[in-house]
């Protein structure tokens, strides 16, 4: 390997994050190249300096403040991820399938355009929930740390 290639892999080498054959190749090179070895030693010192930083002092009363501020918001927090249907037997499934068919036919006859969120009878909040769940799956909701699009952020 050339020195440039070695230098680009040094960090991963020091973190033991290279494949075995690459680790061996780098070790071989370092044993014979003082310039790369010096670079490796500097990076190793840098890594050591950060790993030896002393733990910051935790502010007095932090634990209690976190508990009070976090659990004080409990009123609006859901307990389960989704409302789920309980299994309800063959008769239940047959009824559900029949109902779905009737609704499907009715929608097919009346609907002209638009997605589910645009259909009459689907409330804004449900449409919002659907979009929000889609964003959660695509890592663009508040949990992911990325801001919601403006048109959705306006809804409660």
């Amino acid at each position: 390997m050339q020195c440039n290639t070695i230098l680009s892999k040094l960090s991963a080498y020091l973190d033991q994050e290279l494949a075995g054959f690459e680790m061996i190749a780098l070790r071989d090179h370092l044993s014979g190249c003082s310039q790369c070895r010096q670079e490796a030693e500097t990076l190793q010192s840098l890594k050591r300096a950060f790993s030896q930083m002393s733990a910051p002092e935790v502010p007095f009363g932090l634990e209690q403040r976190l508990i009070e501020r976090t659990l004080g918001t409990s009123a609006s927090v859901p307990l389960v991820s989704r409302p789920r249907l309980r299994t309800f037997g063959v008769l239940g499934y047959a009824t559900a399938v029949a109902a779905a068919l009737v609704i499907g036919v009715a929608l097919g006859m009346s609907r002209t355009k638009g997605g589910p969120a645009d259909a009459p009878g689907v409330s804004q909040s449900i449409a919002y929930d659907i979009r929000h769940d889609q964003m959660f799956m695509s890592s663009t909701d508040p949990l992911s740390g990325l801001a919601l699009p403006q048109h959705l952020a306006e809804h409660p």
Binding site: A49, P59, R86, G145
Partner: protein, 197 residues
């Protein structure tokens, strides 16, 4: 009749049980969380805000937490995303200078006289301060990757999971991040005795 057959599954836990569990998680993990937040933000005030934000988000979405995974991994993911988001929202990277706030966010940085006969703790703090400033001068993504690797001791694969990115990206961020750290420390004359030159 149909409605009577469709019933919601009762929640597995009551609100009181959930709150008791979450309280115990805060007690167990808040020091570790604060330590990471401090390394990411560089001062106590912002670190506490970040930890609070992360716990609030974790609590709000606790029903989505996969309990087969360590809570701290999930919390770290929320916290690092919140940190990167906060930095982006501010519209600029917070580059600390000698005139800006020290560890408490208010006072100025102080450098110990190397010749002074200080005890080990003070000496260690004096060596830590420039390192913390160097972290503060990095881009948020690089800083997060380096802190998770060098201070938290996570493997690249774990960092990739926390940062929701690939192992290759993590490798690149750590490599480039260390180069940034090194050039910053050289610029501020970090003691050569520590082996960084």
């Amino acid at each position: 009749m149909f409605m009577s057959m469709v019933r919601e599954k009762p929640p597995a836990v009551t609100a009181a049980q959930r709150d008791a569990l979450f309280e115990s998680l805060i007690k167990d993990s808040h020091k570790q969380a604060f330590s990471l937040a401090y390394r990411l933000t560089g001062n106590s005030v912002e670190a506490e805000d970040l930890v609070q934000e992360a716990f609030l988000r974790a609590y709000r979405f606790f029903h989505r937490y996969d309990r087969s995974l360590p809570f701290t991994s999930w919390l770290y993911r929320i916290m690092t995303n919140a940190h990167i988001d906060n930095v982006r929202r501010k519209g600029r990277l917070k580059t600390l200078s000698l005139e800006q706030g020290g560890p408490d966010g208010v006072t100025t940085w102080e450098f110990a006289d190397e010749s002074a006969n200080a005890d080990d703790l003070i000496q260690q703090q004096a060596l830590d301060e420039p390192l913390q400033r160097a972290l503060g001068a990095m881009t948020a993504e690089f800083r997060t990757a380096v802190v998770l690797a060098d201070i938290e001791g996570l493997a690249y694969e774990e960092i990739a999971e926390v940062m929701n990115t690939s192992v290759g990206t993590v490798r690149s961020r750590i490599h480039r991040g260390r180069k940034q750290l090194r050039s910053y420390l050289l610029k501020i004359n970090y003691p050569a005795s520590r082996g960084i030159h």
